[in-house]
Symmetry: C2
Subunit: 210 residues, 2 copies
Amino acid sequence: MAELSARSGLPVATIKYYQRERLLPPGRPTAPNQAEYGDGHVRRLRLVRVLIEVGGLGIAAVRAVVDALADETVPLHELLGTAHYALGPPVPEEANSGEATAAAAEVQTFLDGLGWRVSREAPARRALASALVALRRLGRDVDASVFEPYARVADDIAAWELERIPDERRATRTEIVESAVIGTVVYEAVLVALRRLAQEHRSAARFGTV
Amino acid sequence: MAELSARSGLPVATIKYYQRERLLPPGRPTAPNQAEYGDGHVRRLRLVRVLIEVGGLGIAAVRAVVDALADETVPLHELLGTAHYALGPPVPEEANSGEATAAAAEVQTFLDGLGWRVSREAPARRALASALVALRRLGRDVDASVFEPYARVADDIAAWELERIPDERRATRTEIVESAVIGTVVYEAVLVALRRLAQEHRSAARFGTV
């Protein structure tokens, strides 16, 4: 256990907590109060840390991912979906109003038009619907077509991001999930930050000099 | 005041609170306990609402924007900068470690390479630096060049977003700031959501069928 702590960089107390919460399987007992841990445990701990620290997941959400991971009958796509949905984005509170339902239907039509295969449960759908509702409340007369240029860009990004995720010939399921989660969360922050900086740069170019 | 409430859709108590907080100028007194409000007040209230409800700004941050707005000697670019920076992204706590300082220097070199004119105070810089730190802590051997494809995309997006913001020939300063804030915040959520959906769609295409 001390060795596992050293290799994972996590305090023993944290590792024991994860074990009690069933996020990490027990080691192979070698003596009373002694157990052996392997590379699988180190990898699992790293994934759990990524989900919690990078993805901001709660314990229950991590457990859902870990359970799907342990069950080899769960197809990889479904496993990735479990992790992906747990990452959010958080669903806005007022997602059940009449306007929100109408907006959700418009989002569906829009996604159909793109030919995207996306589950009905995807949290990001509701984020789109609520953006539409927000814009209208602000007096903007918009429909889902305002999303079009963003969808094109998003699809380009996703295409080359997906290529960087290893497949089952080159990596374990744990590593694939870890890679997908890091890609989704960390590079989302990168994209958002770079868009802000690009806006500032271009705003300087347009408004800065009179 | 009752009319202003009806036109802005905000309760009288909220409008009075904004006035006490100096977010809204007083009306023109017409009688004791009576004042006249104009279109400028309605526009201002809409902007304040956008900053708080869409941008998530606190009262002090809104006041900074409103003060810059009222001071006609503040150039538009600086005014937009005040609003833009108040929007975040929030700066990660551990932004002052040695790794973070090194990462910030790498971000500077990277931005120089792009030729972007960006203030040293831009919060998004620190978001980039901390993404670099996070990736390294996760064992990824990366440098700022991993940002490159995202920077290209972000610059394309910012270019056509900036075009949609009206200029001083067509809109008041209040309207320009409002448009910029809505564009930055609401369409950031749209971009993030669409990237997630595109990832799911492409993940289905790649991992979904065996």
